[in-house]
């Protein structure tokens, strides 16, 4: 006797898991978001084109070898000369004096915050350093020219009104928070076990910091230095205001020297006619600057990734 009501058909009905119709609005949203992301790609392509095309035209008129080996930069003089070395050495001199400040003191600040400060002190120090990092560069430029250069003269350093020393040292101080913050992140990624092991063996805080934490975070620290060097090379306004606009190869930091970025800004401010050789120098020097910083950035990104892979 079969029970009525229960019908045994072959398979139970399958619930529908897909939406009844394709949702086109979802596709539209994804395309719009992808378009937003594409803007940064377009920016990169735009930067490369903006630099390359006029630079290629520039090198049709000026010999490339003369450009990168020439020791006289005088695009406005007759006879004009387009040797980029004075701008490159000016940039490197400024970077050297900045590095003299941010290499020791940036690392010192990072070690202090990571290994010495209590969480409460750290909670105060970190935002305070961020204040320093948030000051616009034009303000540092003002400070270097109006306060620091006269101060150097008062303490007996015979500097010119525009000089490499003052601008370089101020850029160095400006970059201390950058170095400290990136280095400290690297130190925070060092496992506590390593420190605890060293302390258990009787090491002092100094030895734990210098022989365990710093070596373990080494690639991150180097990355912070490279990042800061890249910033110093690209720094425009402080160099323009305090280091002067006279392109010359000098190793005496009390004298003035123009950097690549400062030249670009100084020339770009004026109304140079489009298509003139003077206009094209902006792009040739810009391309040189871009290559310098790009190499630094790629190195820095590689190194940061390396220390992340080790401990996370």
């Amino acid at each position: 006797m079969a029970t009525p009501g229960i019908i045994h058909s072959g398979a139970p009905p399958q619930p529908r898991l897909q939406a009844r119709s394709r949702r086109h609005s979802e596709t539209v949203v994804k395309v719009v978001l992808l378009a937003c992301a594409a803007i940064s790609v377009v920016t990169t392509v735009g930067i490369v084109i903006a630099l390359l095309l006029p630079a290629i035209e520039f090198f049709r008129e000026i010999n490339f070898i003369d450009f990168i080996t020439g020791t006289r930069w005088a695009p406005l003089f007759t006879p004009s000369s387009f040797g980029v070395l004075p701008l490159v050495t000016g940039t490197l001199a400024l970077t050297f004096w900045a590095a003299l400040v941010f290499i020791p003191f940036g690392l010192g600040a990072a070690i202090f915050m990571s290994e010495y400060a209590s969480p409460r002190v750290r909670g105060v120090l970190k935002p305070s350093l961020e204040v320093l990092a948030g000051i616009p560069t034009v303000v540092f430029g003002f400070f270097a020219l109006v306060f620091f250069t006269p101060l150097l003269r008062d303490i007996g350093v015979g500097v010119e009104v525009f000089n490499v020393l003052s601008a370089g040292l101020i850029i160095g101080v400006m970059l201390i928070p950058t170095v400290a913050s990136v280095s400290e992140d690297a130190m925070a990624a060092v496992p506590g076990d390593l420190r605890a092991g060293a302390y258990a063996l009787g090491a002092t805080r100094f030895k734990v910091s210098t022989r365990v934490v710093v070596p373990a975070a080494f690639s991150g620290i180097i990355a912070s230095y490279i990042l800061a060097i890249s910033r110093a090379i690209g720094e425009t306004v402080i160099a323009l205001i305090a280091a002067g606009t006279l392109a010359q190869i000098v190793f005496d930091p009390t004298r003035q020297s123009e950097t690549m970025a400062a030249f670009i800004a100084a020339t770009g401010i004026g109304d140079v006619p489009t298509g003139s050789i003077e206009y094209k120098t902006i792009f040739a020097v810009g391309l040189t600057l871009f290559v310098f910083t790009l190499v630094m950035n790629i190195l820095s990104i590689r190194l940061v990734r390396k220390y992340r892979e080790v401990y996370e």
Binding site: T137, S230, I269
Partner: protein, 298 residues
């Protein structure tokens, strides 16, 4: 005999009294670390003291409401202040949608296995390291000369947008990543589509983080001088800025006053720096307040 050698050979755990080299080195090193931090704060203090002692006397109502002038005693900063405020508004309108859109794409939509998505991330990292003056060159080549826009407010705003976009993207991504996956999975389980999950669950939860990051990026942008020198520098702007007209902004105005030989203009520069720093303080303070007020711990 054998018992005596046992105690004598035991290593001493206590430090020897008297001169302690380790402790001295520790002190010197501690002093160096403290100095590393002190030097930053000494410079910050000297900078603020110098700017305020020079500029506070110049900071009058006339200074805030008058246009610049070749006579120092008549020069004011009204067009520069207005220019900076307009730039801020344009920057918010441009960077936030594009930056958040990119962050949502990378965090919620992109398949990380695909080469073009990884390439996109490396590209954004590299853009963050491009010097700001190079963005100025981009603006000069394409907007000012290429499109023949001239040195107008819109060109300045567009270039600053591209400049801070990586910062906004990174901050927004961090805010999105902080939203726990359980919320997404719960919404998906209830049958929501991906956009419904993002727009109704993830984005609202991430708004405080996104807002904080965007304001900090904005604060960075309005202090930028180098790109604006190429895209917007003009000696005298005595009128109020318009979208497609010549403009000036506080950093440019400060730069121009510093560049003048007369001592009086340096004081004007100091006064304009105070205005700029006050504006940055308000923005940063707002960001910190937002973070504390709305920060969620999951």
């Amino acid at each position: 005999m054998s018992a005596a050698t046992g105690t004598a050979g035991a290593p001493s755990i206590d430090h020897k009294p008297g001169f302690d080299r380790d402790r001295l080195v520790g002190w010197i090193f501690g002093g160096f670390l403290a100095f590393s931090l002190v030097i930053s704060f000494v410079v910050l203090g000297a900078l603020l003291y110098d700017v305020f002692s020079k500029g506070i006397g110049e900071l009058t109502w006339d200074f805030l409401t008058r246009p610049p002038s070749s006579l120092p005693e008549r020069a004011g900063a009204r067009p520069a202040i207005l220019g900076t405020i307009y730039l801020m508004l344009l920057l918010i309108a441009l960077t936030v949608p594009i930056g958040v859109g990119t962050a949502v794409y990378l965090e919620e939509y992109a398949n990380r296995e695909r080469w073009y998505n990884r390439w996109l991330e490396v590209n954004i990292q590299n853009l963050a390291g491009v010097p700001s003056i190079v963005y100025g060159i981009l603006g000069l080549a394409f907007l000012v000369r290429g499109l023949n826009l001239g040195r107008v407010l819109l060109a300045g705003a567009l270039i600053l947008t591209l400049l801070v976009l990586p910062t906004v993207i990174v901050a927004s991504r961090e805010a999105l990543r902080a939203v726990p996956d359980t919320i997404r999975q719960g919404a998906f389980a209830l049958g929501a589509t991906r956009w419904q999950v993002v727009s109704r669950q993830v984005l609202p939860a991430a708004i405080p983080g996104i807002a904080t990051g965007s304001i900090l990026a904005l604060a960075r942008a309005i202090g930028e001088t180098a790109p604006l020198l190429l895209v917007g520098a003009l000696a005298f702007i005595s009128f109020n800025p318009t979208l497609l007209g010549d403009f000036t902004a506080l950093p440019i105005q400060i730069f121009q006053w510093i560049s003048k030989p007369q001592e009086e203009f340096r004081l004007k520069a100091a006064a304009a720096i105070i205005v700029l720093l006050a504006l940055l303080l308000v923005l940063n303070g707002f960001a910190v307040w937002l973070r504390h007020r709305y920060q969620k711990r999951w």
